[in-house]
Subunit: 171 residues, 2 copies
DNA sequence: CCATAATGGTTACATCCGTAACTATCGAAA
DNA sequence: TTTCGATAGTTACGGATGTAACCATTATGG
């Protein structure tokens, strides 16, 4: 029974497997926002974050959508160049800028939301009810397991403050 | 009950969530092979693939470890530079090279295996038995769901020929 | 009030990555 | 045998990324 102990089976190695799956899914979804609007992933996340939350600071955006601050900075710069968002200075603290989508930005967001939901729906549709439940449980569990491991600060590795269990939208 | 339908909740959006988790895990594990041997991910996968399978061609390596052929090419070049692997021409087909680890490469591999296993073990240890089961089921299910979607060929998106269900090593 | 540290955000640089184009070889068909 | 298309692998090039250094501003502590 004892598995060979000096060999690692890459195909079943959790970090590899998880990354590979995520990469496939993410790459496939990237086609949607790339083909449609020529967005990079950080740009898509920025659009999505602002669409969801309204005005935010760059810092808040980075925390909400798990992006390194340089990614945020660049994504914001690009969306600003497109006139999809505007910055407005904070009255109290002049280091801070509040970001918000313009009409054009909002339009792009509104265009993307149904596509994103459809993508997720179609992916989940290929998984049966039971396994979908397992997926939710599993994601929650791994997330919880990671949040025990403070990933030596700074950012990008922020497990986003635990505000209770997350659910994969069903159906 | 009806969720707001013009807003996407990024934190629960499957592609985002999956990618973010995988990124955290992968990044954390990357510290192991990076700190220890200064390897990149493609280099680690190459080492791992060759350690696991013995001699392989670059093409087989790419399929086994889900890497684009340019990544394989570069990783192999670097490991060769370190004298961790050698190439030997195929007798029948002179386009093909067979790759194999040298003593030094094998030593590095043997050094990494226990670390990789320990990393996985410690991560899984933070997840209870039941959720671990759910994780296995979920990964299998998503993998299966993806293999329905032929990701327009070429490579990198190869869902590795389905040789039966995979299991996350338990314990 | 001043010095120092912390914070929000940007930028420079080196590296990594994917697309596409390339070389070399092989197989098949004429 | 010649030609043409596929295949193994490399490379050139532009774009994306992370680290670290940076600027400006604000908080802290004497």
């Amino acid at each position: 029974m004892a598995r060979q102990d000096d060999i690692l089976e890459l195909e079943t190695f959790l970090p590899y497997r998880l990354y590979h799956l995520a990469d496939l899914v993410s790459r496939e979804f990237a086609r949607v926002y790339k083909d449609r609007h020529g967005l990079t992933r950080p740009e898509w996340r920025t659009l999505s974050g602002l669409g969801q939350c309204g005005a935010m600071t760059a810092k808040a955006l980075g925390e909400q959508s798990a992006m390194h601050k340089t990614k945020v900075s660049r994504a914001v710069a690009e969306l600003e160049r497109r006139r999809w968002l505007t910055r407005s200075p904070d009255e109290k603290d002049r280091r801070v800028e509040h970001l918000a989508l313009t009409k054009a930005g909002l339009a792009a967001y509104r265009d993307m939301v149904p596509l994103a939901k459809a993508f997720e729906r179609e992916l989940l549709a290929r998984i049966n009810e039971l396994d979908r439940g397992a997926l939710t449980v599993a994601l929650d569990a791994v997330e919880a397991a990671l949040s025990f491991t403070p990933p030596d600060a700074d950012n990008e590795g922020v497990a986003a403050g635990d505000d209770g269990r997350r659910r994969v939208r069903q159906g």
